[in-house]
Symmetry: C2
Subunit: 224 residues, 2 copies
DNA sequence: CGCGAATTCCCCCAAATGGGTGAGGGCGGC
DNA sequence: GCCGCCCTCACCCATTTGGGGGAATTCGCG
């Protein structure tokens, strides 16, 4: 995959009919919700028909209003964006969700796209860029901004972590020692060290502290 | 010509309570800026007269428009909120800056208040709470929301780090070893270890990995 | 001036960590 | 069946780390 991913499935009727694109806006920050609504309403041919402040509410409201597009934040208290996207796309396979996140962390981008998001935008992008992506996604074009696509590309270059390595990393982030990780996962300490060795190699770091920071930086594991 | 609408139609509030509160909105995210502008304009008695997308621009624009209140994000590319507040308050000691941040990290709150901010709001707060704080600050009342005040309280319970301890922590976060930190700061390795000991005690952690995570969690040091 | 706090450095020593290497079992794909 | 991967565990060994002391210097504050 290169920097721009576009899969074109044009629908003439959408382009020609006067009907507006009907958006559902999901974000836990009231001012951001207001901004997105203002942004959408300022664009001809699109309108916000509903809003939600977390993943659970988003799922409910989606079923109620069946919007053309969902504009969704990723990190929200309670059910996050990824779970909401999975749930919505399972029930409505043609749902079109655009993620609008603060962070361009490669693991976040990957998780969002994997779970069914059609695009991934950043909150520091311009009104025009956001609006034009809404239009593209509505036309069935699944496009990623260059900056985001690059991050996804970087991720693919980084070797994938195995399940066990992720488990170890999770405890590592909590500040646990090898011994503690071993007993938590019912492993010998030697096995934990073994996983750590490959983990360090894959993350290209020398020690656990660097690993923790890299993991946080890439969004591989969440803090809090 | 007599085509100025502003002059001809004065609002009721303007007549009763004098002029509107004039706001400067500073945030690097276009949709958030739109949201804050929409939020302010939806409130009677206040108006947005200018906007900026980073610290430097904020300083310039402040001098130009001399707003009654600044609504400022903390983490922005280039010059951040803290530096901007310091610069503005130095030149205009009666400036009223309200920080509007995503994070309730105690160090962020402390730095903002120390540098001269009159209040610290979170982006997940309601429109009403944000608006009422603007009014309070404009009346000269410097109030902190309970949630934020509690965080600040927690911080005061944690022992302050010394300058040197911060220096060591900074390199620690970068994944440096004791030896590397020592040579970077022109210290003996023993001195670094000495600072680390008190650092661990103050942060109530057992090792450097926990220290790194705690430091990030509290916003003591920035990642990226 | 005495006190505390910060900074610098030292010693000792136990424990934890990280690197190298190897090895057996399981499981899926060609 | 064989190959590659994952998972498990083991041993050796050097280095790093962290905890316990102590000590000299500076510097500001009452």
């Amino acid at each position: 995959m290169t920097s721009e991913v576009k899969v074109s499935v044009p629908k003439k009727e959408d382009l020609e009919s006067g009907a507006k694109i009907r958006l559902l806006v999901v974000d836990d920050h009231p001012p951001m919700r207001m901004g997105l609504i203002a942004l959408i309403k300022s664009q001809p041919g699109m309108d916000v028909i509903a809003e939600a402040s977390d993943g659970e509410e988003a799922i409910e409201v989606y079923d109620d209003v069946l919007p053309d597009i969902v504009m969704m934040d990723l990190r929200m208290p309670g059910m996050g964006g990824v779970e909401a996207i999975l749930s919505i796309c399972k029930k409505h396979p043609d749902a079109k969700v655009i993620v609008l996140s603060t962070y361009d962390w490669d693991e976040d981008i990957h998780r969002a796209i994997q779970s069914g998001a059609k695009s991934y935008l950043l909150k520091d992008m311009s009104v025009e860029e956001i609006a034009s992506t809404v239009r593209e996604v509505h036309e069935g074009i699944s496009s990623l901004p260059r900056q985001v696509a690059e991050r996804l590309e970087e991720r693919s270059k980084r070797q994938q972590l195995t399940e066990r390595e992720r488990d170890v990393l999770e405890y590592l982030i909590k500040g646990r020692s090898n011994k503690e990780i071993a007993s938590s996962l019912y492993l010998s300490e030697e096995t934990v060290k073994s996983h750590l060795k490959s983990l360090f190699a894959k993350l290209k770091v020398r020690d656990r502290t660097e690993a923790a920071i890299e993991a946080i930086r890439h969004g591989i594991v969440q803090i809090d």
